[in-house]
């Protein structure tokens, strides 16, 4: 049994006087201990909402969550607020995108680390302070004793993110959700933070859900990748396969949108046309069809199901009527 089993998770937002919005529409995936699973997609594809739903952090009013998210056999979605609060920070940790705004500006770093230690591990203030210094040291913050007395605005961006990671990992959660943890950082710092996450995860056998729009992050860190589009997983694969042979036109488009230094001079970037619409129902056709260069008549008539891909070996799941042919094969066909 996997540590986290997400089955058919759906989130619908309601607003008075407006049509409700389906943000997540039947997402399923598993995370094993020590495994890193990526959720990839553009802004608005539902990846952050998925993580907030698992953490139980969505507002009760205005959001309906259905489906199932089992953590170590316990259904998280039906836990009471109090039970969920006891698990957050202890069993489930989360690292957010913007390290500056995710830290409380008016209290010292030390208090923010010890707060969670006192809350979940019942440490005394003194014990917690000792432990906090060790934690900061572990995430690579130099001079941790001094840093504990400082305030968030006095730390650099990378240090802040390290501090946030230290706080999230303070009680050694078994599952860590990182919601675009490197988006607000410099490229060099990004690499450091990713390396740190990878190391901590390997060391502690923590399961990691990596939410990102950055395929470079996926390439460096994830064991398995789920590509999300309009609230559904459209392709799932091991990372190496995914980069070698993207099958879904959306994945293909994402990869083609990345500027490459080794591209021939004068070659244009090929972005995906349009953007994710707020509310494209997956009823009566593929939600990606309007933007898809591969769309055929069937795409706007019937909704594609998630099926095991027959062309690529390995555990490739795909939601597409007309997937992109693997490059090698296409060339072979052209030659013959």
């Amino acid at each position: 049994m996997a540590l986290l089993e997400v089955r058919d998770l759906s989130v619908t937002f309601h607003r008075r006087g407006e049509k409700s919005t389906v943000a997540v529409d039947g997402v399923s995936f598993d995370v094993e201990p020590g495994q890193t699973v990526g959720l990839v997609g553009e802004s608005g594809c539902g990846k952050s909402v998925t993580s907030l739903a698992i953490m139980g952090l969505l507002a009760k009013r205005g959001a309906t969550v259905s489906g199932s998210a089992k953590f170590d056999g316990t259904e998280l979605l039906t836990l009471s607020d109090r039970q969920m609060r006891d698990r957050r920070g202890r069993d489930l940790g989360m690292v957010f995108q913007d390290p500056l705004s995710s830290l409380n500006p008016v209290i010292s770093i030390g208090l923010q680390v010890t707060e969670v230690l006192e809350r979940h591990r019942g440490l005394s203030r003194k014990q917690a302070a000792v432990e906090a210094a060790e934690l900061l040291d572990k995430v690579g913050i130099p001079d941790p004793k001094r840093r504990l007395t400082e305030y968030p605005h006095q730390l650099s961006g990378g240090m802040r993110q390290r501090a946030l990671i230290a706080i999230a990992l303070a009680c050694r959660p078994r599952l860590l959700i990182a919601d675009e943890p490197t988006t607000a950082l410099d490229v060099t710092i990004q690499a450091q933070i990713l390396a740190l996450l990878a190391e901590l995860v390997r060391e502690t056998e923590t399961a990691l859900i990596m939410i990102t729009h950055d395929l470079g992050v996926v390439a460096g860190l994830c064991d398995e990748v789920n590509v999300l589009y309009a609230g559904r997983v459209v392709e799932r694969s091991g990372r190496h396969d995914l980069f070698r042979v993207p099958r879904h036109p959306y994945t293909h488009g994402l990869l083609a949108s990345i500027p490459r230094l080794d591209a021939p001079k004068g070659e244009r970037l090929s972005p995906i046309r349009g953007s994710v619409a707020d509310n494209i129902p997956w009823t009566g056709g593929c939600a990606f069809a309007p933007r898809c260069p591969h769309a055929v008549d069937r795409c706007v008539e019937t909704t594609p199901e998630m099926v095991v891909d027959q062309v690529v070996e390995g555990d490739r799941l795909l939601r597409c009527h007309n997937p992109v042919e693997p490059a090698g094969r296409a060339e072979q066909e052209m030659l013959s």
Binding site: R85, R88, S101, N104, V106, E115, R119, Y151
Partner: protein, 308 residues
């Protein structure tokens, strides 16, 4: 070249200055260099010292009409400036300077206590509404809306008039109640913004308890605008308290001088003896100005947009 190294020196000196300081300490450092703040603070300190030392500074007893023999009501004659009475006397023959000095006590006390009570009530209501939300928020805010729909001074006068025997405590209460909705609304707004802020979400993701989230994470981050408002309200409270006394809703016993009350009594003789109105009015204006200057410079120091 030298200017550049100077600049670097200055920057590194400032960086060294900043080691281990909270946002409040950083704001205080900015404040200390601001001439507007210094001017306002100077005025306030001056008047506080004068008020505290008034019993010793005042040359005469403000309640004794020692120049009574120079008052001739029929000819509208009031004691003029003379030896030992640098500002002359009032319409009852009491020493004007002494009355002004002692009057500062009443005015400052009323202003400070009215603001504190208003602040306390506003903090309570605003925290309740902002932290709990839902129907509590709706009920509190509708009540606040109703109070805010009445002009402040009018409301203070109405509340002051409710008391059969007005005294300085009823003035404090009347002025304080008017300030409550202002603080409540301000705090509730910033609390709501805090509720949806990233760091509160982060705290929730750590399982921090609701009470700690409200009092450790939301409230301290919401206080900046409230503190600024409090200094500005001090000025308003002083003016409103003076206005109540002026209208006769203050302490009827004029043996204890108060600037608003002095101003009110001066209006009957304002044509012939404008100095009786000039001095208390001037004091009210200058004190209110002092608090306003401090409030404005505080706002500037706490405003993240004005930070370098």
């Amino acid at each position: 070249m030298s200017t550049r190294t100077d600049k670097i020196d200055e920057l590194s000196a400032r960086a060294a200055d900043d080691a281990g300081v909270s946002l409040a300490a950083a704001a205080w450092r900015r404040l200390r260099r601001n001439p507007v703040f210094l001017a306002g603070a100077g005025i306030i300190v001056l008047f506080v010292v004068l008020a505290a030392a008034a019993p010793w500074l005042a040359p005469h007893d403000p309640s004794v009409p020692m120049l009574g023999d120079q008052v001739v009501k029929a000819r509208n004659q009031i004691p003029a400036v003379q030896d030992g009475h640098p500002l002359g006397g009032d319409q009852n023959g009491r020493d004007l300077l002494s009355r002004l000095l002692l009057g500062s006590q009443q005015t400052l006390l009323v202003g400070v206590f009215a603001t504190l009570i208003g602040l306390g009530g506003g903090l309570l209501l605003g925290t309740l509404a902002g932290a709990l939300g839902g129907w509590v928020d709706t009920v509190v805010m509708r009540a606040v809306d109703v109070m805010l729909s009445i002009p402040g001074l009018l409301l203070a006068v109405s509340i002051g008039a409710l008391f059969a025997q007005p005294n300085q405590y009823t003035v404090i209460l009347a002025v304080a109640i008017v300030q409550i909705p202002i603080f409540a609304r301000l705090l509730r707004g910033t609390m709501l913004a805090q509720r949806h802020s990233d760091h509160v979400l982060a705290a929730r993701s750590l399982g921090v308890k609701q009470r700690a989230i409200v009092f450790r994470h939301m409230l301290p981050n919401s206080l900046g605008p409230v503190i600024v408002q409090a200094t500005l309200v001090l000025a308003i409270a002083i003016i409103e308290a003076a206005a109540l006394s002026f209208l006769g809703l203050g302490n009827p016993d004029d043996r204890i001088p108060e600037w608003g009350q002095m101003l009110g009594q001066a209006q009957t003789v304002i044509d012939s003896h404008p100095q009786l109105a000039f001095w208390p009015a001037g004091c009210i204006i200058v004190v209110a100005l002092g608090f306003t200057l401090v409030g404005e410079s505080l706002r500037e120091a706490l405003d993240p947009k004005s930070r370098r």
